[in-house]
């Protein structure tokens, strides 16, 4: 797991992700609901950031926009200096594949693939050689404590184990940042603590940045920086207390 983060075009002093004036509206029946109202935010390489706020404050919307899963109605997103909006759909896919990792609240593993194959999948679409994929997937699963579960399919794993596989998958292509949407929401307290410790350890050892959308106080307690959202606006942004 412990690879240097100096891949791609990133330079150490350049922001990894830079959002300026992001707005996003959703249609709800006949009316428009503003999920984000001009959010500006910068994430530097190696940061461990929690996006906190009540339900409906815009955490997941912001995470989706920064992860190039969605497009803003207004504002710009720069990923390592490249403007996300100007990229084609294929280029955005490639950027997500090569520079981002994703961890979801519901794990979102591919049910027909084994743990090892799930972790290898991002490397398959990146065109890595089979032997390299196998070695890397085993390495990552061993690092998250699932070295014995390589051939097991997701339905035979516990929630915590599934989330560990998802974390290993997020790291497969050596990303610059991992976006995690409520990663502990479906886990019991003990497993949630273990998962958070694991992500923190990965962050410290590999300098991969983590951005969490959460209202779990345990996540917030472990973050170095907390961005508080309220009604689609940044309410506060600073070091965790």
């Amino acid at each position: 797991m412990g690879e240097p983060q100096s891949q791609g075009i990133r330079r150490d002093r350049e922001p990894l992700v830079e959002a300026k004036g992001l707005s996003r509206n959703y249609r709800l029946g006949a009316s428009q609901v503003a999920a984000l109202r001009g959010v500006t935010l910068t994430i530097a390489p190696g940061e461990f950031v929690a996006l906190q706020g009540p339900s409906g404050s815009g955490k997941t919307t912001l995470l989706n926009l920064l992860g190039l899963l969605d497009r803003p109605d207004e504002g710009t997103i720069l990923i390592e200096g490249r403007e996300g909006e100007s990229l084609s759909e294929n280029a955005r896919s490639d950027l997500r594949r090569d520079r981002f990792g994703f961890v979801f609240q519901t794990f979102n593993l591919i049910p027909v693939l084994s743990s090892e194959e799930n972790v290898a999948y991002p490397m398959v679409i990146a065109g890595r050689a089979p032997e390299e994929r196998r070695q890397r997937a085993r390495e990552l699963l061993t690092a998250v404590g699932l070295g014995e579960k390589l051939a097991v399919r997701p339905d035979l794993l516990s929630g915590g184990q599934r989330q560990r596989v998802a974390i290993a998958r997020a790291l497969a292509n050596r990303p610059a940042i991992v976006f995690a949407d409520e990663p502990t929401a479906n886990l019991d307290s003990r497993t949630a603590e273990e998962i958070l410790d694991l992500m923190r350890k990965i962050n410290e050892e590999s300098s991969v940045a983590f951005l969490f959308a959460t209202h779990d106080p345990r996540v917030v307690a472990r973050a170095r920086r907390v961005v508080r959202l309220h009604d689609g606006l940044v309410e506060s942004d600073g070091a965790a207390r």
Binding site: L69, N90, S93, D98, N108, V112
Partner: protein, 407 residues
């Protein structure tokens, strides 16, 4: 982990749906393979039957192509033995049958019935055309035919004659006078086509020549070729040979002459083409419904794959490969099904109704026709690709955020 392996696992995962759709494809494939085999068998039977009647090639006087004869043998080939020898020399030729075609009136007692007569060289004619096999009572002509005639069963019935009975044949000679000869009924033939059965009369070429008072003149030479012969080259050689011998002839191919064959073939192609098109539409609609359900059920998974960096084309490909894999599985099952149904049908002895214009039905015989199996495979794969394309395209264009939130 190839696209095929992923497709296969998804098919196994959605087992019930795969079995349902695989069964539709299997029946579609089997229908193609069986209908194809049956059509091929029918066409071949029809072709063989047609060639047996008209030969592969016919040499006729050039004038007869555009104009009907006003008098019998007006455009006949004179010195027919010389022309026949010239054609028989060709290495591709297996038989040359001289024929005199004429019309007249057959009289037996108080009955007189018009006939369509053909004068033949009995031995080679019987051998090459299978005319002997059509005789249902008495026997076919032998030697030079003598005074014997073979009558269609309908004509014999109208004349109220049977083998061994005498009758008089009347016809107009090429110079316009009326002539008559006595003949003896050698046998009765069932020529399979009702209208012809009521008028058919065959006799030796000598008797026809006597009746028409035209020795050594024939209407045409019917040519049969060896099995491996090239029809077009043989036609060119025979034409040159006859031209060199002083005959101004045209060599006509069996397809030009067999209008009936062409019509029946078109009819069959029309019927089976329509049924095939209906079949393809049914499979496309069923498959499209199944694939749409598969896409809908896996929306969240599609969102995940897209989030991980799979390009839209990758999602499209994934569902298309699934469609093709399903077609392949269905076709394998369909092949087993087709072979089993074929074995049962061929052993059943079911007699099919007579084809247009014929009087006899034929036992069902579905041939193993590899081309029909290959066509079935291609049709089912193409069908599944078409059926999968639109749901797959929808899947590839789905909003990632909406897909991830899909329940």
């Amino acid at each position: 982990m190839s696209s095929l392996s992923l497709a296969w696992r998804n098919l196994v995962r959605q087992r019930r749906r795969t079995i349902l759709m695989g069964t539709v494809v299997a029946f579609g494939f089997a229908a193609f393979a069986l209908a194809g085999g049956f059509i091929a068998q029918s066409f071949e039977g029809l072709r063989e039957g047609t060639i047996q009647t008209v030969g592969q090639l016919q040499a006729v006087d050039r004038r007869s192509v555009d104009r009907a004869e006003e008098r019998t043998l007006e455009f006949g080939l004179k010195e027919s033995s010389r022309a026949r020898s010239a054609v028989a020399k060709d290495p591709a030729v297996s038989a040359v049958l001289p024929r005199i075609e004429f019309v007249g009136l057959a009289v037996a007692g108080a009955k007189s019935v018009p006939y369509l007569g053909v004068g033949v060289d009995p031995d080679p004619e019987g051998k090459a055309t299978g005319a002997r096999d059509l005789v249902v009572s008495g026997k076919y002509l032998s030697g030079d035919g003598g005074d014997g005639v073979v009558l269609g069963t309908g004509l014999a019935s109208a004349l109220q004659v049977k083998p061994g009975d005498g009758l008089t044949l009347m016809a107009t000679t090429p110079d316009g006078s009326l002539n008559a000869v006595d003949a003896v009924v050698a046998g009765l033939a069932d020529v399979r086509i009702k209208e012809l059965n009521d008028r058919y009369l065959a006799c030796g070429i000598g008797l026809a020549a006597r009746l028409l008072q035209s020795p050594e003149t024939v209407t045409k030479l019917v040519v049969f070729l060896r099995r491996d012969a090239d029809e077009n080259r043989a036609a060119a050689r025979i034409g040159s040979e006859l031209k060199a011998a002083g005959y101004d002839v045209v060599i006509r191919h069996w397809k030009e002459l067999a209008v009936f064959y062409g019509q029946v073939k078109l009819l069959y192609i029309g019927i089976f083409g329509f049924v095939g098109a209906v079949l393809v539409v049914i499979v496309i609609l069923s498959a499209a419904i199944v694939m749409t359900m598969a896409v809908s059920e896996r929306t969240r998974e599609i969102g995940t794959l897209r989030a991980l960096g799979t390009r839209p084309a990758g999602i499209l490909r994934m569902f298309l490969v699934e469609g093709i894999a399903l077609a392949a599985v269905g076709c394998v099952a369909g092949m087993v099904l087709a072979l089993a149904i074929r074995a049962v049908l061929n052993a059943s002895g079911i007699i099919l109704p007579p084809p247009p214009g014929a009087t006899h039905g034929m036992p069902i015989n579905v041939r193993f026709y590899p081309l029909a199996y290959a066509a079935g495979l291609l049709a089912m794969i193409a069908t599944m690709v078409v059926a999968s394309y639109f749901p797959a395209r929808r899947a590839s264009r789905v909003s990632i955020v909406e897909a991830l939130a899909h329940i």
